[in-house]
Symmetry: C2
Subunit: 356 residues, 2 copies
């Protein structure tokens, strides 16, 4: 009594006392820019919606079109265009600045409103007697970037979020070419922030991140755009997520060796430019805690020297409301064994090259 689709292995286990209380099944792929798969843990060919994990790809037109230069955008504005931000004051200022430089304002944002992800920012808004606006939406930087690209390209900024808008069609081409995968209309969904999201296999997504991190396999202008966006995120990791959040913490410690970006429903991707590899993970159940731990374990396997810096992301203590340690969350023995089988980074890269 099982469907084929539920057969993924366990990525991460949540332990309470001496028992596994919960477990996150899923899949994770590691690929190089040529699409050679170094790791295929679970079903890495099943299409998954990348959601916000590919915001850096969605931001490429902002740079490649010349908009970023024309508007004089700095690291903070480019990083927030790639961000799922927490709605902290620093994020709101960067989005407002990006919009203003493009001659627009908050009223153009089509992402819908939600309370800031940051509890501190949310409480400040409540104490001020305010309601959340679209600019507080974690995706407002991406939307501001799409708006600025549209303005620079001479496109009508109204409707920029719709699948038929030329900017979204341009983005489909970028994702498709970067990941070397066809994006069928039947695989389109609408994201939480109202832009299209296109399902594609983790194997293709990992390849796309390998290209994003290295520029290999991308047209020259696109490679430069990708590099500039990643450098902005490395320079301003606080802009990409927020206080105490995974992407900000990991890039804060590991930039420029590691670019990481998570999306809703348990998708998390990384680019390791030095190794020339990309990683894409999905927790089948959509749990962020599952995808984050699996990604951290995979990064630590590929870059053993960063393991100490990732300690908090690898083996998490679960504290109860009184602060008592009641359990832990960590990668499954299965995933650890699959990663150990990869061997040293030198061996991994040699194997990748030999497959060419």
């Amino acid at each position: 009594m099982r469907e084929t689709n539920s057969a993924n292995p366990t990525l991460v286990e949540v332990v309470r006392g001496d028992l596994v209380e919960s477990r996150h099944a899923g899949a994770i792929a590691v690929a190089d820019p040529q699409g050679r798969l170094l790791l295929a843990f679970g079903d890495v060919e099943r299409p998954v919606f990348p959601r916000s994990a590919i915001k850096a790809m969605q931001a490429i037109p902002l740079v490649e079109s010349g908009a970023a230069d024309a508007f004089g955008l700095g690291d903070a504005e480019l990083a927030v265009a790639c961000a799922s931000h927490s709605g902290e004051p620093v994020h709101i200022e960067a989005v407002q600045s990006l919009l203003a430089k493009a001659g627009l304002d908050e009223s153009y944002l089509g992402c819908g409103a939600h309370w800031p992800v940051s509890e501190t920012a949310m409480r400040a808004l409540i104490r001020a007697g305010e309601r959340p606006r679209a600019i507080h939406n974690n995706c407002s930087g991406k939307h501001a970037g799409m708006l600025a690209a549209s303005v620079h390209l001479g496109l009508d900024p109204r409707g920029y979020e719709r699948p038929e808008h030329p900017l979204q069609i341009m983005i489909v081409g970028i994702i498709s070419e970067s990941c070397a995968v066809a994006l069928a209309p039947s695989r389109m969904g609408i994201d939480g922030c109202s832009v299209p999201t296109w399902a594609l296999p983790l194997a293709a997504l990992a390849r796309g991140f390998a290209r994003l991190g290295t520029g290999e396999g991308l047209p020259a202008e696109r490679a430069r755009a990708a590099t500039r966006l990643l450098e902005a995120c490395f320079a301003a990791p606080a802009l990409v997520a927020g206080e105490r959040r995974f992407d900000t913490l990991v890039m804060g410690k590991l930039a420029p060796a590691v670019f990481v970006k998570g999306g809703a429903e348990g998708v998390h991707c990384a680019a390791l430019p030095g190794l020339g590899l990309g990683i894409a993970a999905k927790a089948d159940d959509g749990a962020k805690r599952g995808a984050e731990r699996a990604l951290a374990e995979t990064i630590a396997a590929l870059l053993p020297e960063v393991r100490p810096a990732l300690a908090d992301q690898l083996d998490g203590e679960i504290l109860n409301w009184r602060g008592t340690s009641v359990g832990r969350i960590a990668a499954s023995a299965e995933l650890q064994a699959a990663l150990a089988a990869l061997g040293s980074p030198a061996r991994i890269l040699a194997r990748s090259a030999s497959k060419g």
Copy 2:
């Protein structure tokens, strides 16, 4: 590359566009008071921590000891003792009243503090410039009930939450006898609110809920206590969870045909007193949305006449931040098929009796 423990079937699917975006594997058991299993979907023998799903069992000493009568507790106080409440004013008042009648105050609560689950209540607290206290913890009613029982039994209320306290030992006996299962010390964990939680199979948990709902198989005083607690929850479903929450909505519509109680990490149980059946579900990954949908589908299969009332709990539309419908969440075809195979309630009960 799979561990035996991850082989449960899919309970619930989350669909975006035309694709399954996420899925929740898990297990669900339906049993009668004699422990006969009417449904065993997935591995119902694997021990799971019941967490807050068994708060009504943990509240039995409060009634069985005579404390509820001695302190003159009403429905609101008994219901909140069985609750994972949202910290709304009505919940805080009920917990304060329960504590006051036992001659105690908030300072005795050992559950730790967290912001109210209710966003409205949380915002009110923030606007008032206050911080959350232990009484806002969703478990404060259970703790107040344990304190009142301890006082009435002449036990030291300090330390009531520790595994070695006589009240907790009494509760272990109640769970063990109700579910007809031995609770090994190796299966003890510490809950988020600092009391012990004991792992047991879903099959045993379902049996325990069948007994809780019917009194069958329980000592007479315990059966009366269980009935009184369930009647309190049926009379005051708003006290058991809160506005817009599953347990309050379901009991608000279906009491006294259905008692439901959820716990952390994707556990959800029900008693159907009229049918004499208990249900216990666990989403392997700990997702509330998985356990709730699976439980609702199972209730609707056992009580077909309530299906229209459960429409919102069965097939949920997923709206994005602009209110656009972007997907849905519903029981898997596998679970629906397993439930359809059960047949009519009359046939289910006949089969249960024939197994006797």
